[in-house]
């Protein structure tokens, strides 16, 4: 921190003060003056799509934005594994210093109590089924895909802590990479039915708010998730369309991504 001592430090503090005053005064001005804008229109239309406003907004109203946010997780995992040593490339013609290869962590599991030893596996299994429940619930409640992935990989981490190298959840390299690829690829390809039939990428042909999809596609993608909403005003039928499928794809992607990070950091990455 030598760079920020003395005169430079004082200047940096003054600079920070200026930035802070400017930023806070802008927030102060904004307080109470936020314009609702497009969100009014969104709110008036949301009930047409699904009983779930959050999932609708995230997956139905935003386009490549959500897809690429999913891809950010994927890229983060691939880059993390690259730092560990997966997929480091060298010029064939010009030898360089050997790439970094990380060693696996050392485990000490002798101190494991009997309870943990016998209940660890059931706990991991129940966490798995909990994660699956969360992702299937997403058609009626907010989000789900990301949470499912995090819960599943938490089970993986838990089992790794309990059992070390003899991890009962043996996510292999190929399974992790494959499920991540299936997730992100599946998410991308789920835009294809809408693209081919209506011309709009990721158009939710199951819900079909604007009535531009062919009825056969509406039946294929909408019917499996159609729910009846019994409200005071009467009984309504609505379908989230492709949103539950996107949620499953998202869950696969997150399991692949975070699983890859855990795998690479716990067991290291050696090229066979």
């Amino acid at each position: 921190m030598n760079e920020l001592r003395g005169k430079r430090g004082i200047l940096a503090v003054i600079a920070l003060l200026i930035i802070g005053i400017g930023f806070l005064s802008s927030l102060f001005e904004l307080a109470g003056n936020v314009r609702p804008g497009v969100s009014q229109i969104y709110n008036s239309l949301a009930h047409l799509v699904a009983p779930n406003n959050i999932a609708t907004w995230v997956y139905d109203w935003r386009g490549y934005d959500t897809l690429l946010e999913t891809a950010v997780i994927y890229v983060g995992a691939v880059v993390s594994a690259m730092v560990i040593g997966r997929g480091v490339v060298q010029m064939k013609s010009c030898p360089q210093e050997p790439p970094a290869q990380s060693k696996p962590l050392e485990f000490h599991i002798e101190t494991l109590t009997v309870i943990l030893k016998y209940l660890g596996l059931p706990a991991a299994i129940l966490l798995f089924s909990y994660g699956i429940m969360v992702v299937t619930a997403s058609s009626t409640s907010g989000g789900g895909g990301f949470q499912c992935g995090v819960i599943m990989t938490a089970a993986y981490l838990l089992a790794a802590i309990f059992y070390g190298k003899n991890n009962p959840i043996r996510f292999g390299k190929r399974f992790i990479i494959g499920i991540g690829a299936a997730g992100l690829g599946g998410y991308t390809l789920l835009g294809l039915p809408g693209f081919l039939t209506t011309g709009f990428w990721q158009y939710n042909i199951g819900a079909d708010v604007w009535g531009i999809a062919p009825s056969i596609m509406r039946f294929i993608f909408g019917e499996p998730f159609r729910l009846s909403l019994v409200l005071k005003e009467g009984v309504f039928f609505s379908s989230p369309g492709i949103i539950p499928l996107i949620n499953v794809a998202e869950a696969f992607n997150v399991i692949g991504a975070i699983g890859l990070i855990y795998f690479a950091f716990i067991y290291g990455w050696q090229e066979e």
Binding site: Y64, D65, L68, G87, V89, Q202
Partner: protein
């Protein structure tokens, strides 16, 4: 350009094909099929961007809301508020994406032929790098803008880390550190804009600000502009973040640097134009952008003079010439913006020539340091000719393309009332030549003092790529209208038709 559809078929494919290619090659990891899949996908992207018509794409198929009649419409000609987020593919986007995907094609061929076996993840990063560049140049809404900058910076880290050396790890880590500051800064800027306007679409934001004003809340706009500038600096490597960005350029393989620099030029143009559209009418905004550009230009070229490695000289020159691009946009006049975008196109082309030549030096055993002299001109006279022509193009010597865009920029700055800026542009181009010729003399021309590989086989892809881009520089230099007819209608038509 009679009808502009709101569901142009090509826009999603330009992003989805690289994305799917990245997923597939990453999963294949070390199979031979990677080469064919990646080359085919790159060629597909190039083909689609060449044949595509112009238009919008409204993702997820939600129509626009017409505030005058309170109806929904799929017609983009009506000035409605866009419910869904949109991309726009126009003439400017077309030429930018075509040239970037041309670079992508050659980069992929070079990478698959010249690198060791486990190249899946690395190629995936390069595809995603192109995808982020394509998104940012087409984007017309705040959400996609943010996510493109965010994923773009993360992928830059991946591309650099891919070479696995300690210097690239350091460069990547430092760059990633600032992505945390600048990425969240851009998020704050966009949140403030969303707060005072209520619309995520850039055209809607501009319209709301023009029609309703900001109600005495200029402070918010200015703070938003400040954070915007940070992400501009970061994405394009403007001063004071140029040491990090130039390290990134220098530490990755030259073929990857070619895509990296194309991506950052596209980011500079796209974010710069969005800033001009939103904040352009505020006082002091253009001045700040002009000063930032000039400082970047001069620091880049002066530091390039001090470097002792050909890769780092090119890295700093890329930074310096980014300053030329942003200068044109910052001037804010039509002429200036034309010059800036044209400069970006030319810059991507001639820097690729230099970088491909630099890649060829790896086949002589990595002789890129100017401390030794290798006499490569004798072993490969054509490579020497190519790098000299590339240097001439970079320093704005007629009949190459650099001359055409720099003359537009010089005229634009004189017409805007800043003859000093014209002087600086001239000095930058002269100094570029000095910096490059220093290295070229030591590495190529001087009689050899150090040994290099005797019979180096330069792959055909490098030779073809280099000469193709040299021919492009000459064609655009002699007949600039071939590029300007894409750029001028975009600017004259009020940014978005």
């Amino acid at each position: 350009m009679t009808t502009i559809p709101s569901n142009l078929w090509s826009i999603p494919l330009i992003v989805a094909i690289p994305l799917l290619a990245a997923i597939v090659v990453n999963a294949l990891y070390d199979k031979r099929a990677i080469r064919y899949i990646s080359i085919i996908s790159a060629l597909l992207t190039l083909g689609i961007s060449i044949i595509s018509p112009y238009g919008y794409h409204w993702f997820t198929g939600h129509p626009a809301f017409d505030p005058t009649t309170f109806t929904f419409t799929f017609d983009p000609g009506i000035p409605g508020f866009r419910l869904s987020l949109e991309f726009f593919f126009g003439p400017m986007q077309q030429i930018m994406i075509v040239i970037s995907s041309l670079i992508l094609v050659f980069c992929v061929i070079m990478a698959t032929s010249g690198l060791t076996k486990h190249q899946g993840p690395y190629l995936a990063m390069i595809f995603l790098l192109f995808a982020s560049a394509a998104i940012i140049i087409m984007v017309n809404d705040l959400y996609h803008l943010w996510i493109a900058v965010e994923i773009g910076s993360l992928i830059v880290v991946g591309v650099v880390v891919g070479s696995g050396t300690s210097i690239s790890h350091k460069a990547a880590l430092k760059y990633a550190y600032f992505s945390a500051i600048c990425g969240s800064g851009l998020a704050i800027a966009l949140a403030l804009l969303l707060g005072i306007t209520g619309f995520p679409n850039v055209s809607d934001v501009v319209r709301v600000i023009n029609i309703f004003g900001v109600g005495g809340m200029e402070t918010i706009l200015y703070i938003s502009f400040g954070f915007f500038i940070l992400s501009w600096m970061y994405a394009g490597g403007l001063a004071p973040l140029h040491p990090l960005k130039s390290e990134v350029y220098g530490a990755s393989y030259p073929h990857a640097t070619a895509v990296l620099q194309a991506q950052s030029k596209l980011m500079l143009v796209a974010i710069g134009i969005i800033m001009l559209r939103i904040f352009g009418t505020l006082p002091f905004v253009k001045e700040v952008m002009i000063f930032l550009s000039i400082i970047t230009m001069m620091l880049g070229v002066v530091i390039a003079l001090l470097q002792i490695d050909f890769r780092w000289i090119i890295a700093y020159l890329i930074i310096s010439h980014s300053g030329l691009v942003t200068l044109g946009i910052a001037l804010g006049t039509k002429e200036g913006i034309i010059g800036g975008i044209f400069q970006a196109v030319n810059d991507i082309i001639y820097m690729s020539v230099l970088l491909f030549c630099c890649e060829a030096l790896y086949y002589f055993g990595g002789a890129t340091s100017t401390r030794g002299s290798f006499g490569i001109a004798k072993k490969s006279p054509w490579l020497c000719a190519a790098v000299l022509l590339g240097a001439f193009a970079a320093s704005g010597i007629p009949p190459f393309n650099g001359f055409q865009s720099e003359i537009i920029l010089i005229q634009a700055s004189i017409n805007a009332g800043f003859p000093e800026i014209a002087v600086i542009i001239l000095m930058v181009s002269v100094t570029t030549l000095i910096a490059l010729l220093r290295a070229i003399y030591r590495i190529f021309l001087k009689p050899p003092e150090n040994e290099v590989a005797a019979n180096a086989q330069i792959p055909k892809s490098i030779t073809i790529g280099t000469w193709l881009f040299i021919i492009l520089t000459i064609i655009i230099g002699v007949y600039p209208d071939i590029a300007l007819r894409f750029i001028v209608p975009f600017v004259e038509g009020g940014f978005l038709p």
